[in-house]
Amino acid sequence: MSGAISTMSPETVPVAGGSARWALATHSRYLTMQSVRALLRQPFFVAISLVQPMIWLLLFGELFKRVAELPGFGASSYIDFLIPGIIVMNVLFGASWSGMTFIEMIGQGTMDRMLTTPLKRGALIIASLAYNSITIVVQTAIIFLVGWPLGATYTAPGILVSLAATILLTGAFCSISNAYALVLRSREALIGLSIMLALPLSFLSSALMSQGAAPDWIRSVSRFNPVDWAVVASREALSGSPDWGAVWAHLGYLAVIALLLGYLATRAFGSYQRSI
């Protein structure tokens, strides 16, 4: 039987569904919906996710209130200065954990099951980015809302650019986290590496401290820091007279790094499959 059948042309196998791109979109949509439904079934978790950004804003707002008085700080209103920073840090500490879902799926066996179906690997990454972007956008909206009675001023283009920057940064950090998860397959290692990445990157940026008040070397390093790109894009767009060239440039850098990391994360499935 093997002799006769193994020469059978592979084209004789019926191909379900439409084109590959259509399958990628559909698979991503189904996977995202599955995650959103699972989240909504855990009201406690939803509540924590909603409260967390408020805590960020209120705690940091109080703690760093008087930094704006530092010589060379530059910004006049600390709350206006802080909001883009909080938005971006919220992304870091949310998206960095997205790989946990992959580790959980590997543990549950759902990952291996999916990898034996015609599922597009990219759809697992896209769905993870989409799901995390949804939560991050809701959390960002909460930060904007809570900041308003505290005296923050916004512009519509500023809010849109901030949301775009957070989504792109979410894409980058989810991808790193997912790739870690597929390569390391260990919660502990993922937690360690995520913290080792998120903390330095936020301190080596202008998220909480104006570049004018930061040491020179931090200023130089932060120019290559995606976290700083997101902060700069958001802060610049929300400012009274935005430098749109700088805004678009920083959004562009973010898009490039997000796409690159998303591609690498998709490639990490190969590493995972070689190990099993």
Binding site: A23, H27, G109, D112, R113, Q273
Partner: protein, 315 residues
């Protein structure tokens, strides 16, 4: 339908598969029997495109699993060793997602999902998160998910491991029906001798990453020179005479107490002859029983150790 030749899989220095070959005819239920750690799951992982062999080739439905993994994935259904339903999603959602991955849409997807929920008696539980299911129900959902796209080849990796005896018996009934109803080729791995005996029409016995014997369960057992018969005599005094008589009809005659044991090629036809011989010699018989050789005997012969011992080593 499934063909593997010289599969080798190495994890670092550990050799999980050591030249495993097998050939599964279309429409059969093929059992891969072996103790834990024999290489059954590794074989399934390679055949289902999850893992890659270090060397050797494998074809499923005529397709090379290394060259055309995407095409292989469309024609196979896979029920992994571990129950792998999404616990946060309901039974219906699990089936819907699985169907969507194969390109099933709307009406077709709904029809098929309803059909499988009914088929496996999960309709009442369909809208509950699957984490609330019993182990047996989760496993049924698992099998249903593997069937959603009418696969041509179904892989069942240890389908009843971890189930209680009642759920196991129920699953066996389901799988027996399945094999009869759907014209599918099924490859089943198990470390339960009874399960292999009950479900598989052909078996490959796997030990230390190799197939050590193949055949139908009956063929394999027949190779052990037939059935064991046990005769309990009414009177111990007649033992020597009975032994002599029995030795003319059967082989490997042994006695202990009032019991005589012997091996015959076919127990059912040998018994009347044995009884007639004893009766004409005037030897009263208390009881007679026939036992088919078990797969445990078969395993012992080919692997050189008892199945229970091999499991002990693996664990």
């Amino acid at each position: 339908m499934i063909n593997a030749a010289g599969l080798v899989k190495e994890y670092g220095k550990v050799r999980a598969l050591d030249g495993l070959s097998l050939d599964v005819e279309p429409g059969t239920v093929f059992g891969l029997l072996g103790p834990n750690g024999a290489g059954k799951s590794t074989t399934v992982k390679i055949l289902t495109t999850l893992s890659r062999a270090t060397s050797g080739t494998a074809h499923v439905a005529g397709l090379d699993v290394t060259k055309f993994p995407d095409k292989v994935r469309r024609v196979i259904g896979c029920v992994p060793q571990q129950t792998s339903v999404d616990p946060a999603a309901t039974g219906r959602e699990n089936l819907n997602l699985q169907g969507a991955l194969y390109g099933l849409r709307r009406a077709a997807l709904k029809t098929r999902t309803d059909q499988l929920l009914t088929r496996f008696g999960l309709t009442d539980a369909a809208n509950r998160p699957s984490r609330t299911y019993s182990g047996g129900m989760q496993r049924k959902l698992d099998v249903a998910m593997g069937l959603i796209h009418h696969p041509r080849v179904l892989f069942l990796d240890e389908p009843t491991t971890g189930l209680d005896p009642e759920a196991r018996a129920e699953m066996w009934t389901e799988l027996t029906h399945l094999a009869a109803e759907e014209r599918m080729t099924i490859l089943l791995t198990t470390h339960y001798l009874e399960e292999a005996d009950k479900l598989a029409s052909r078996l490959a016995i796997v030990d230390r990453g190799k197939v050590v014997a193949t055949g139908t369960p009956d063929d394999l057992k027949n190779e052990l020179h037939g059935d064991a018969i046990t005769i309990d005599l009414a009177d111990t005094a007649t033992i020597p005479q009975a032994r002599a008589l029995l030795a003319r009809i059967a082989t490997e005659v042994t006695s202990s107490g009032r019991s005589l044991r012997a091996r015959v090629s076919d127990g059912a036809t040998a018994i009347p002859a044995v009884l007639a011989a004893l009766d004409s010699a005037g030897i009263p018989v208390a009881s007679v029983s026939v036992a088919r050789p078990s797969l445990d005997d078969v395993y012992l012969r080919y692997a050189g150790r008892s199945f229970a011992d091999a499991e002990g080593v693996a664990a």
